[in-house]
Symmetry: C2
DNA sequence: CGCGAGCTTGAACATTATCAAGGCAAGTGG
DNA sequence: CCACTTGCCTTGATAATGTTCAAGCTCGCG
């Protein structure tokens, strides 16, 4: 994807800003004011945007691409907390207090970010309560999502977790094809395992079983085709061990 | 605890409001304005404040007591998402969109709440950006807490989860005594199990083992004395199955 | 075509859930 | 004041499930 061609055309980062739901309510003048405070940056796949524990003084908006946010345990395992995509923002915890980043963020592909200093954002909030409200809405959504994940990890059987993950991926990374929904996987098996808190072997085994059962079909190792959405949904709602 | 004696004394719910961090920045006049929009209510242990799926048009502040918030699975298991205490608020997801409650909330003891209609709160946010910023801070904190829990459920061994839970309880429900920290447990074994996504039997067994190891001592069934905080901390940071 | 990373599969092992029985403690009614 | 009852907690035995370790395979790429 081009390096924010639209921004270049419009003589700033207005287009960039427009993409972010939080700023949707602004008029053109305000928008370009906001845009003037933005710094853009590009990362390649595997690049670290920032590390858990680092001080962070900016709000970062994903302009293009996707990233994973994770925490690392003493033994090197990682727990993936989020997959962020175009339009998502991160770093909001660090906007008010001097907290350090609570997770590491890594690019899953080529990523363009728009960063925003803490001071600019705070000033903006005080001037535009509407943005504050939008921000609260976004945070509420994120909380709802976390609560879902939490319930999933806590009470769903492993089969259920995988099914729920596939349903989620289908919505976010899937395209509809004649036979069902084709998912372009954002993560490796190990990544999926790290998201679900299980091992990569278990992911392999469960997916194999699903394929044998005719629920999905793997296409290479980076794509999965959902054939039987109904069964998947049932499995996702399944309780813990029958 | 008395039914908001202070509020009665001050001729309103100003005292009530003062307790909530979000409103801390208001001056007296604003405070009493806010207070005039509040409705108070009392619940007994076991009472349901609201049910998952119900429409909810208010922000609810816990004035006195504690509650648990949980979701139920098709088979009747519950996953406890939060324990809220004095000063915490809930229902923020419902302030902007017409979402229904995403969890059930139940009183763990006698609870007094202060409720706030959605409209009043929205108006307040638009008038007082400071409150909006405070709200964003609170939400950020909650997100940080959820991320912690998530990591805990995802990557920590069961022993680690229990240790982490005890550490958390120690901070929130513990008092320092000569021998260590005495925790007044807010939940039964089953409740703890529902918070950690395991069974009550496993909780019993793990606690017994910890007691045999001299790490804790159970005092009746509703209190636990932490004797060896060091070991507990180590266990909490433990990785998944060594 | 060959190489290597990532994926799959198998077998033994460890852990937790389930099912079942018994114990303890607090509250009740005689 | 004591037996009784009820709810919760503990413990044991067995079965289900996931992890670990190890080996082989596949896909995608140079």
């Amino acid at each position: 994807m081009a390096n924010c061609k639209q921004c270049a055309i419009h003589g700033g980062h207005a287009f960039c800003v427009r993409r972010v739901p939080v700023f949707a309510a602004l008029d053109d003048k305000e928008l370009s004011h906001v845009a003037s405070h933005i710094h853009q940056r590009t990362y390649q796949k595997g690049d670290i945007l920032f590390l858990e524990g680092e001080p962070l003084h900016a709000l970062i908006i994903i302009h293009t691409g996707s990233v994973k946010a994770y925490r690392t345990t003493p033994d090197g395992r990682e727990q993936i907390l989020y997959l962020f995509q175009t339009g998502d923002f991160l770093g909001e915890q660090n906007l008010f207090e001097n907290h350090n980043a609570s997770y590491t963020v890594e690019a899953l592909e080529t990523v363009i970010t728009c960063a925003f200093s803490r001071d600019s954002f705070q000033a903006l909030l005080l001037e535009h309560p509407v943005i504050a409200i939008k921000t609260i809405e976004e945070l509420s959504k994120r909380i709802a999502q976390l609560e879902n994940t939490l319930k999933s990890l806590g009470v769903r059987s492993v089969d259920g977790r995988i099914a729920a993950l596939l349903m989620d991926y289908a919505e976010r990374f899937g395209t509809i094809v004649p036979e069902g929904v084709l998912i372009q996987l954002p993560l490796s098996r190990e990544g999926i395992a790290n998201q679900l808190g299980i091992t990569r072997e278990t992911v392999s085994r469960k997916l194999s079983r699903m394929e044998n059962g005719g629920v999905i079909r793997t296409v290479g190792s980076k794509r999965i085709l959902i054939l039987d959405r109904q069964t998947l949904e049932t499995t996702a709602n399944q309780m813990n061990v029958i």
